[in-house]
Symmetry: C2
Subunit: 602 residues, 2 copies
């Protein structure tokens, strides 16, 4: 199907919006009136620009408060409409959106509405223009799609059809089934938006909180199925008003938008994408650092050993149990100091995973590798984290470790003097801070591109603002990524990313780390008084947690014990003991942890 996007969904000048829409692969645009008014381009020039960019102008929008008004008012409306039709002729746009009236003078008279819309359609016909009449969810007298359709049906004018908008229909809780009763050729346009399920005034909800399909709580795909069954064959067009997207860069936002339509089309049938290849584990996490020493000291203290080095790059492989961490001291793309730059995802079909990612518009990364390195398929996540699809010791697939050469162990490696009995089993989860404008995008990306499941979003109080956090996981929890976002755009860099390491005995792991000279984040004593009030512990248990700085949580399924290293650059480590099927990430403890990190400066 053809895809389109309303210019109001993107930030910037009209030309910036058009360029972004074209680059992201859209076939057309809806031109929002204010974007045209604010542009230096004459309508003819906009038409030309669109043609150059391969974009059709699918809709001009909107006309407001046209119908069901006293005759004198309607006369003025026709005058205004004639001006706008003239602009549309210059634009080369042949469909205009007319929203149901919110005018105080509008009367509750369907026959009058039909008659006036018919007159408007007569005038439109002179310009070769079609009118798409849409029920606003807060329209004064017409607020449901079936009501708008009834008026269109009554008017029975060839240049008058209806426009369906998923937000206006689903926000009111209307049953979209009856859309199938509308003849497909009378559905002149289809606008799509999702939204989080908020109980709030529908006008405010619509103007500030819409999002792209798949990012919210509406069954947009279900609605589209009804529209397709009705026989609609026009474009799928996004119309999203969102305070955050308004500030986001137009380019990435347009890509995000187009991806949401691809995923939507996949779920309703008309588009075939390479199927998702769900990762089955975390092969490695890669840290980049200008100075490896502090990181290696922490890794050594945690019980990791440096076991191999890349043949052609300054990258070391540290391992303990199934947890593998690459330490890259090369000229990394990120110059912000030590940080988590890449994740290796264990993939049953790396090439297939990369094909799906590419089909869903994930930037494919250039392979900066030597001629004889193992092939590695990688894409960039919205936050810039590199995702490698790879295999670790699986028959029939090239092993990414083939590019590494073992290093001989020697006693001078940090931590080598400590017991080598591994405390860490593997990587429990990775926590990635998202750019403020891309939190919703990130969740949709990880769900659609990687086939992960998104959990509920939770708010976490930091001393200096609220954070939001949302985890994406595979079914058995062997891949868990916790996405979080700060309270405001300026907050992007305040909060560090982290690698949570799974252990079967967090107390032993913590003691080992301390014995190796490591420092754990100090947790205030008051926290343990509260634990004592909330839970009953075995003798001495709480004292141990207090001594070591271990945090505790419990849910309906099991228990969670965890502690934190200090922060190195922009990254820290967590030791995690997850028992009995505990599903969370200790969000209950996050405010205390965040406050402690602020107190210690990380």
């Amino acid at each position: 199907m053809r895809t389109s996007i309303a210019t109001v969904s993107l930030s910037g000048s009209l030309t910036e919006k058009l360029t972004a829409a074209s680059r992201a692969g859209f076939d057309g645009v809806e031109i929002f009136e204010n974007d045209l008014l604010a542009s230096r381009l004459a309508p003819e020039e906009v038409r030309e620009r669109c043609a150059d960019l391969g974009l059709s102008i699918d809709l001009y929008q909107p006309m407001r408060d046209m119908e069901a008004v006293p005759e004198e008012e309607f006369g003025r409306n026709l005058r205004r409409a004639r001006h706008k039709f003239e602009v549309m002729r210059r634009l080369g746009a042949d469909t205009v959106l007319v929203c149901s009236s919110v005018h105080p003078a509008a009367v509750d008279d369907d026959a009058l509405a039909a008659r006036q819309l018919s007159q408007l359609a007569d005038l439109a016909s002179e310009f070769g223009i079609r009118i798409a009449y849409e029920a606003l969810a807060w329209g004064r007298h017409v607020s449901t799609y079936d009501h708008a359709w009834h008026i269109v049906e009554t008017a029975d004018h060839p240049a008058l059809g209806t426009c369906l908008d998923s937000f206006h229909i689903l926000s009111r809780g209307s049953d979209p089934k009856a859309i199938e009763d509308i003849p497909g050729e009378k559905i002149f346009f289809l606008q799509l938006a999702d939204a989080p399920l908020l109980a709030m005034d529908v006008l405010q909800w619509s103007r500030h909180y819409r999002c792209f399909p798949g990012q919210g709580g509406f069954d947009v795909a279900g609605l589209v199925r009804h529209v397709l069954r009705a026989g609609y064959d026009g474009p799928l067009s996004l119309e999203v008003f969102n305070d955050v997207f308004r500030q986001a860069e137009a380019g990435p936002a347009a890509v995000d938008a187009h991806r949401s339509l691809l995923v939507l089309q996949e779920s309703v049938g008309p588009v075939e994408l390479p199927g998702p290849v769900v990762p089955t584990g975390v092969a490695f996490a890669e840290l980049v650092t200008p100075d490896a020493e502090p990181v290696c000291e922490v890794l050594g203290g945690l019980g990791f050993a440096r076991i191999a080095r890349h043949r052609s790059k300054p990258v070391d492989l540290w391992q303990q149990g199934e947890a593998r961490i690459l330490v890259n001291t090369g000229p990394a793309v990120r110059r912000e100091g030590t940080g988590l730059a890449a994740i290796g995802l264990e993939s049953p079909d790396p090439a297939g995973a990369a094909r799906r990612a590419e089909a869903l518009l994930a930037p494919v990364l250039p392979r900066r590798r030597a001629a004889d390195d193992a092939p590695l398929d990688a894409v960039a996540a919205p936050d810039g984290t590199e995702l490698f699809f790879c295999a670790t010791g699986r028959p029939g697939l090239p092993d990414w470790r083939a590019d590494f050469e073992d290093v001989a162990h020697n006693a001078t490696e940090p931590g080598a003097h400590i017991s080598t009995k591994p405390c860490v089993r593997g990587i429990d989860h990775l926590a990635l801070v998202q750019p403020w404008h891309q939190f919703d995008e990130a969740a949709l990306f990880h769900r659609s591109v990687l086939g992960l499941l998104a959990q509920e979003s939770v708010d976490v109080a930091d001393p200096y603002g609220l954070l939001r956090s949302r985890a994406v996981t595979n079914a058995d929890g062997s891949v868990r990524i916790a996405l979080s976002v700060g309270a405001a755009p300026s907050d992007d860099t305040v909060h560090a990313q982290h690698i949570a390491l799974a252990t079967d005995d967090v107390v032993a792991a913590a003691r080992r780390f301390l014995a190796a000279g490591g420092r754990l984040l100090q947790i205030p004593m008051n926290y343990y008084d509260d634990l004592a009030a909330r839970f009953e512990f075995a003798d001495g248990e709480l004292e141990t947690y207090r001594e070591l700085g271990i945090l505790y949580d419990r849910d309906a399924h099991g228990e969670f014990r965890h502690c934190y290293t200090r922060t190195v650059g922009r990254v820290f480590f967590e030791l995690v003991q997850r028992d009995g099927g505990y599903r969370g990430y200790g969000a209950q403890n996050a405010p205390v942890r965040l406050a402690a990190q602020h107190l210690t400066g990380g």
Copy 2:
């Protein structure tokens, strides 16, 4: 009355919050449990810190999900409560907030609730603690203040009273009148918060959008009057959950909070402040600049003449009609280049105005003046703008111009070769961009300190985000200040401040400026096509506007014509012709103006 604030209302660590509350003049605090848990200070140390800061601990909060639960659950609750009472003993806090239960297991049984609360009060009595039971607006079975009071009355326990919270009462639309039926001594606590009138889920509304009294839409003062009539004599305590305040600096936020309580007390009677002295005009606007030339060029082009110079400072007075602009090239406090630093407000009683400002916690500015300069009373607005209370040529009051010496006109002054017939009558309004965290504060400041009236807040679409804008004015419109705020904290400096100059003939004023070599902001032609569609104009009128870049708006009262100079540093000028009682500021045209400014880089 004593004033108090919940620590959750301020950002930072517990010690930062306590310090800010004390410095702002609060008498006490409510300690929010999570703030204590996250603190390194033991309860005894918090007690000591508060004593040092002159703060009483008026409330510990909250206990949740205590009452009307099955016996086994209640047993666990008593165990938990005992721990918390022990903490409170160490804190020296004698009142605890118990919120009505939201627990899924809570049963709808008032007798059970009363019995269990009574048992809890028995336990509390052992610690010398009182229980203040409050109805959460979203409580499972108890959600109104009269219901909570009914349960307290039934329990009839000396250590059990009720806590009233203006948000929980007013957000549900409850009539607060029946508060007067509660015996004053059984009202153990009073929490105050205002909120904008939003139609949204009450829990989300409460957790994210509360604000200080006077900043929202509730009649908080009306509620307080009922509570005082009931005989309550405890503290007025602020409990405000707000996503923006969570990020704001604790110090200024606490001052803002305390100011809101002073204003509230003034309106209910118990506090006497110096009365407001409403300014009667704008005496001057002061620009600071490291390089006067570009500004003076614009002023000259607009028809201003440099008429005087300060005797002891590098400050020039430019004048046209009643519009006076000071250009200060001295070592100004602001180093960000040319900007609007101060406003002179024509005051019938400058000293009285300053006394009120000081009583309402506005920072009084040091008088950086020579010994024989005229006295000038000045305070800082929340955004740092200096407000001078002064008189221009009024008998009995010192004239601020006494410090200026006339300069002889000569033909080399910029603009001196242009007709001297003044086009500008005075200053129509001043537009000030507010720091992101202080928009609500600014409106309350200008209302309460200056006695101005606040108009409705409006959203304005900028190409890169939504702005909010709100005007404060005096009754006759001779003082108009438009406050605006960007879409996000990072946006503080994007948008410029401006000085709008009143003219009776914007066309003549614009032509004069162009003739003097000035450049006006170019407005896209598409805007004029839209004007033609929306309004009918006299022959040639629209062509003139199009030629000059004049914008047009109309409301029920009159017409508005305006145009803009280019931006110098962080400031630009607007020429404004306001006819027939038009009340707005051309908000309808702001998106086009903002887009044009982005296109030209200001």
